[in-house]
Subunit: 576 residues, 2 copies
């Protein structure tokens, strides 16, 4: 490919509204163009990167017995009604009607379509296990698309669905897929991706993992323990607390006028906040019914945990005059009314706490949960904190990091097969529901993540496995016949040996040529200049600057191919 | 791939509602599954066929300097408003709103997206020509999806867009693409595809061609001349007529009570229908305004030609009492009113005709168009007929055939660049609008067309270039250890040599095994049976029955690979 024919503009200025580097570099390098919020068109270099990623994914899915299929982008709403998600999923599911007013959706995930495809095929236990996958466009109507390809509305995704006759068989397959995912990320050039236990969210099911590229610009937050290796996303990370204060006090009213936050009262009474029980008020989205969470004063509510516990969507509450709630003075003693009350596990066994008294300008001290509130159910809805207790090794070692989720795997159980009536006859002639797993990777987000992990101020540094081209030739004086002839034949020879080459023979300054090459991020660069040719040599370097050498003209092709092969091997070595 | 692991059911019974064989065979062979009207999911065999077709298309597009890009499936309505098609295209364009009530469409073709992607890039003449293409999902909300993959609502399409600084340059590139398309169809196994001149329809522009697979089950109709090679679709085929009757009569009223069709009157007056001028009434969709077409009595109106002439959508008219139209007695003499009148070219210079007199129960004889109607504009809106006059060689040689449109190419001109404000500076510093071409192939429809062209009663006969696998091994007695061991090692050895093999080692009757193999349509078959092994041989055959041989066990791998290579070469030889 001649660079002067490559469609797309490259430019120096960082575009506005780019909060992360991959977004900025992919716009500056002519990789993609903004079409509308969360929707981009791809130019050739990004298309090539994505196709290489797709091929890596395909090979690894095939290696674990996956069968590539294709589901529709536009699905009849009926399928989502069967699973119950037509109602339960929010407005990120794009609903529309066709010309005959038939309700439809744009597929944002394809569990329903997968079950529909194999519902009859999987009628006998002899057909199991099997896994089907597709690489296809998805649409998710995100409220806040951001960060270039990291959070978009339309994206290419590999989604896989496995079907099993037992939980054990699912777990065995889950492990194979878990490993395949690690190979995919390593082959794509980011072996540093870690797995974290995650919350299954709207997918249903129990065990699930996310694959995270740890980076300060990530939009996900993860709890890590360096001592024991524990890793979980915030929704899945158990918040462990210890209450050491002893029961010594009586429940006693305190007059606390105008002190509406627990922090105010603690300061007034000179108590540490962890000696308080605070109330946080939410409302259910559907009914506006109040949900009052009692939690230890030093902790915050993790809304996803709370949402999962409540079983429906919630939002921060607005306390009205007629709500029966005494805003600022809410406490667990004798609370009653038409609301859901949730007790965070941090309060379990806690004594001698400060709390609201459900009476204007009044708090209690000396709260003993068991004595004063009776036998209530405690649930973990608290946010784990930096320096908190690791739920596995029990040490105060929790660190909070940020990351980009580049993939996820879920054990779905029978949520979809049950709701959609997919059954098989087992060897004894009984009907059972198959157990499912599902496994996703966003192709564009993975490309952007690799760029986040591998770039410098001048552009991306693509791993050779997914780079748009393998070699970038710069002919520094195309008007000099010798330089042109050496460059042209290097281009022709490399291409004839199957090397993917981008060739810059434009009549532009060296600075322009190099900054364009930096933006394209091709791993191997060959420069033919008057200076090098005066020594009879071609300059060969790598985009990451680890190699910078000269090769005699006659050896250049051989040296470049050897370097390409070496880089390929290095990527392969990182694959476990 | 082991056949007993292949997801999807194969069955014998022809499904209801299948009007063409490819539809029936693709359902019976486990290639695809119906999801909703005009929407299918693909199982692995079809996915593999489509991916091979996509790769052939990609190689041929790259060979004519195409750059693969990717446009969004969901596009902002604003882009289509710029081009004017948001209004002008009917309900096959699926319109919807996103969560923020922003109007959007599902891309059914991507001229607008292509211009949006390169509008800035193409600002200077030095950047031209260039071609970008994508292989992506499209959605077209067809009123009547039919015939399996032939007319669907969601489909994978390769669509390409070229940009030029002159009509000459477009024409030169158009020719290259024309040839590339012929290579694509030949490589996919249907070199018999012919090109026909076509109507550009809603795409705009002037010259365009369709690639047709001639088959009685096709939904398109084509006019062909065997004498001179003229080929055009019905919309583009000029209808040539000769009027030989001489002017001898006066215009004369005839009383024709209760005779409301021109056929009735001709019979009554014993005149041949070509001696009459009939009226056909339409209405404009938008305004209900009447469009009255006068045409020679033996011809029919081609509604697409009429639509293109009128410039908007029309439908057969309903004549009301207050319309000012005398239904059954409409004629060109003295007609006036609030309607558009169209004179078909078949009436040009015609004399001595019968026609309505715009008066109840009355006709005229002796109509002389020029004398009685004055100077009117004649337009070709007539349907060409079997045995009609070839517009090129002038002989009565026109044949009417049916075909499936497997691809199309258009010279678009400046319709989109003008409406969307894409301009470039030429070498003299003047601003100009680039000239565009566009080029489409539906991947699934091509797969179905190959199946139409190559099948027998038992299943498809896939050309080796797009077959889901190259070799199908049938192990006829997997419980016999020798037969199993020969089969297993044949499977392993062929795979290790890079041959794509589907291996049937199920414990089923030979009849089941062969009928499944027929449905999968893999070109080369190897059968290992007690009978063949007793002679120390493996049976090797082709799906099309042209080869049926025995090879000694030890030679089987070599013979099969030689056969695969021979079939590949035969396909290549058909490529011009």
């Amino acid at each position: 490919m001649k660079l002067d024919r490559l469609v797309g503009d490259r430019f120096k200025e960082k575009p506005a509204d780019c909060v992360i580097e991959s977004h900025s570099l992919m716009l500056r390098g002519g990789y993609m163009k903004f079409v509308t919020s969360g929707i981009f068109s791809q130019y050739m270099p990004l298309r090539r990167i994505c196709r290489k990623i797709e091929q890596i994914i395909r090979e690894e899915m095939d290696a674990i017995d996956g069968q590539e299929v294709l589901f529709p982008v536009a699905l009849p709403a009926g399928l989502w009604e069967e699973s119950g998600r037509y109602e339960s999923v929010g407005s990120e599911l794009l609903r529309f009607t066709d010309r005959n007013n038939a309700p439809m959706v744009l597929g944002m995930t394809h569990e329903e379509a997968a079950v529909q495809l194999v519902r009859e095929y999987g009628a006998s236990y002899t057909r199991y296990p099997f896994m089907i996958y597709q690489i296809q466009t998805k649409f998710r109507d995100e409220a806040r698309p951001r960060a270039g390809l990291i959070r978009v509305r339309e994206f290419t995704m590999k989604d896989a669905y496995s079907f099993h006759t037992s939980q054990e068989d699912l777990e065995e397959y889950y492990k194979r897929c878990y490993d395949a995912y690690n190979r995919i990320f390593a082959r794509a050039g980011i072996p540093e991706v870690v797995t974290v236990k995650s919350d299954s969210g709207m997918m249903g099911g129990s065990i699930s993992h996310e694959y995270m590229l740890l980076t300060p610009v990530g939009e996900d937050t993860i709890a890590l323990c360096d001592e024991c290796g524990y890793r979980a996303n915030m929704e899945a990370a158990e918040c462990v607390t210890i209450n050491e204060n002893e029961d010594s006090e009586e429940l006693k009213e305190v007059y606390t006028p105008e002190m509406k936050t627990i922090d105010d009262v603690c300061r007034f009474l000179k108590l540490p906040v962890e000696r308080s029980c605070k109330a946080v008020v939410y409302q259910k989205n559907m009914t506006d019914e109040y949900v009052i969470v009692f939690i230890r004063g030093d902790l915050d509510v993790n809304e996803t945990k709370l949402r999962n516990h409540v079983g429906e969507d919630i939002h921060p509450g607005t306390i009205t005059q007629d709500s029966g709630i005494e805003a600022g003075f809410i406490g667990p003693v004798g609370i009653s009314g038409k609301f859901t009350v949730v007790y965070d596990r941090s309060l379990k066994g806690a004594c001698d706490l400060l709390c609201g008294a459900n009476k204007k300008d009044t708090h209690f001290t000396g709260l003993n949960m068991e004595r004063d509130c009776g036998s209530v159910e405690y649930t973990d809805v608290a946010k784990i904190t930096e320096g908190g207790i690791c739920p596995v090794c029990g040490k105060h070692t929790i660190k909070i990091s940020r990351g980009i989720e580049v993939g996820n795997i879920f054990q779905l159980g029978t949520k979809y097969t049950k709701s959609m009536g997919m059954q098989y006859l087992d060897s004894e002639g009984n009907l059972n529901y198959p157990v499912m797993g599902c496994y996703g990777i966003g192709v564009g987000r993975l490309a952007a993540s690799v760029c986040e992990a591998h770039h410098d101020d001048h552009g991306p540094i693509w791993p050779i496995s997914i780079a748009p081209w393998q070699v970038h030739i710069c002919c520094l004086r195309s008007d000099d016949s010798e330089i042109r002839s050496v460059s042209d034949s290097l281009y022709d020879e490399l291409q004839s040996k199957g090397i993917e080459v981008i060739y810059d023979d434009r009549d532009v300054r060296a600075g322009v040529m190099f900054s364009d090459a930096d933006l394209l991020g091709v791993p191997v660069r060959a420069v033919i200049s008057p200076r090098s040719l005066s020594e009879g040599a071609v300059e060969i370097s790598t985009r990451d600057k680890s190699v910078n050498m000269k090769a005699a003209k006659k050896d250049a092709v051989r040296e470049i191919i050897a370097l390409v092969e070496r880089l390929k091997k290095e990527t392969e070595r990182s694959v476990c």
